[in-house]
């Protein structure tokens, strides 16, 4: 399987020359990005800059027009079982949680391991309870998603992603739909994951999180990666005009 002769030093996630259009709109312009194992990459930028599309393209919830996306050295297949298998290794946390509405919290976490990994039901349940414990919602295990607060739902969504033992987790604006008082509880879980060397791609507007947990900040505007640097460098001395503008607008207060 591994044809490492041509793939020199690619990261766990590697995007090369990725382009995408929504009709006339060129939403991803020649994106090159490599993410190493254990790295936490925060993607920021003004709305409409293509950062969510980029995040969703990594597990092919968005198709791309050209370029390649590789996961652990394997190019993303276009459809079918092989794509499903690859997706199982990529966790995803959505802005609107997307917990399975007709399943209990516990079932939300066990469903993937049971149906995709064919895990033993007892083991899956045990592991799910450990994860729910870890994100602090174990006491809600038998409830339905609609009975939980947004912050709790999002923490369950993180547990659901972790239950698959993913190689990387994608966070698509995980706190943008939350009431302010619930943002912190979700960020704390994410910071905890980052400390444990989980590979993460995080699209967010939470600059505090970017500063404290990111290894690298990627700044996007108009479908392009304009600038990338470690958080300290990026926030104190951004080089591009657009990054300076953007930071000026959000860090004013």
């Amino acid at each position: 399987m591994s044809d490492s002769g041509t793939l020199t030093q690619t990261g766990l996630v590697a995007l090369t020359g990725v382009n995408k259009h929504f009709g006339e709109l060129h939403v991803l312009k020649d994106i090159n990005l490599s993410i190493a194992k254990g790295e936490v990459v925060v993607v920021i930028g003004p709305s409409g800059s293509g950062k969510s599309t980029l995040c969703r393209a990594i597990n092919r919830l968005e198709t791309i027009d050209s370029g390649t996306i590789e996961l652990d050295g394997q190019p993303l297949p276009s459809e079918g079982k092989t794509l499903a298998t690859l997706r199982a290794d990529v966790g995803m946390v959505f802005q609107s949680f997307n917990l399975f509405a007709h399943k209990t919290i516990l079932q939300n976490v066990t469903l993937g391991p049971l149906k995709v990994r064919k895990m033993d039901p007892k083991k899956a349940e045990q592991r799910a309870m450990e994860l729910l414990e870890r994100v602090g919602v174990a006491s809600q295990a038998s409830k339905y998603p609609a009975q939980l607060s947004g912050g709790q739902q999002q923490r369950v969504a993180i547990a659901r992603a972790l239950a698959m033992d993913p190689k990387v987790i994608l966070f698509d604006e995980p706190t943008s739909a939350l009431d302010p008082e619930m943002i912190q509880e979700v960020l704390e879980v994410m910071i905890d994951l980052a400390k444990q060397q989980m590979t993460m791609v995080v699209v967010t507007h939470e600059m505090g999180f970017a500063r404290s947990a990111a290894n690298r900040v990627v700044f996007m505007a108009d479908g392009e990666i304009v600038e990338q640097a470690d958080p300290e460098t990026f926030f104190t001395s951004p080089t591009s005009r657009r990054a300076q503008d953007f930071l000026g607008k959000i860090l004013k207060h």
């Binding site: 459809e79 499903a84 997706r87 959505f94 509405a101 007709h102 149906k115 995709v116 969504a157």
Partner: protein, 215 residues
């Protein structure tokens, strides 16, 4: 008035029994076929979507009488031996009704937020798993009321079979006029018979709606 029924009980009994058999078997088969067609229509494979769309557009716009005619006469012309008039009738009703079931199921699928299937795909589920484990169970609630209408229509559509040598309830008037019975009273009794058949369907609908309302 009652004697019209009791004197000809054999006719009514056999007629309605055939109606019930035509209805139940066609209902189950069209539910299965219609759901498969709906899966085609929402699948990621363009060829399957094309088959589903083509099927629905053709069958939904063909008069049921013509579908019967194709199966009873057209099939014979093409030397396709159909097992029996009963199964030809079931076939015609199923082929026709499944196009409507398909659209009902598909519209139900569309009521489930795309985020649900995205989350399921992100977990690594196959298209079949996404559909059967996540989308259809949630779509069911929206499907129940229109599906009941489709099945009530199917029950009434079984009477078309009378025109094709199947002695179901719709054929009772022919035999009754041979026996010289009152046509108006015959029709009234048949109507009552259909109303009685539809009552359990209405209860089934109400039960299914209550059951799915909780989730």
């Amino acid at each position: 008035m009652l004697s019209v029924l009791t004197d000809n009980w054999d006719l009514f009994r056999d007629g309605f029994w055939l109606t019930i058999r035509l209805f139940l078997v066609s209902a189950v088969l069209s539910l299965v076929l219609g759901t498969i067609l709906a899966a085609f229509r929402v699948s990621p494979i363009p060829a399957l979507r094309g088959v589903g769309t083509g099927y629905v557009n053709t069958l939904r716009n063909t008069p049921l009488t013509l579908v019967f005619a194709f199966l009873f006469f057209g099939a014979a012309k093409m030397d396709l031996a159909l097992p029996s008039p009963y199964w030809a009738g079931v076939g015609a009703l199923t082929i026709y009704t499944s196009a409507f079931v398909c659209e009902v199921v598909r519209s139900g699928v569309n009521t489930v937020s795309p985020g649900q299937s995205e989350a399921a795909r992100a977990v690594g589920m196959t298209f079949f798993q996404v559909l059967t484990l996540i989308v259809l169970p949630q779509a069911f609630r929206a499907i129940v009321p229109p599906l009941s209408s489709v099945f009530i229509a199917l029950l009434k559509n079984t009477t078309i079979a009378a025109g094709f040598s199947l002695a179901e309830a719709g054929a009772i008037p022919f035999s009754m006029s041979e026996r010289g019975e009152n046509q108006l009273l015959t029709l009234i009794w048949i109507t009552i018979g259909f109303l009685i058949l539809i009552v359990p369907l209405m209860f089934l609908q109400r039960w299914a709606e209550r059951r799915t309302a909780v989730a």
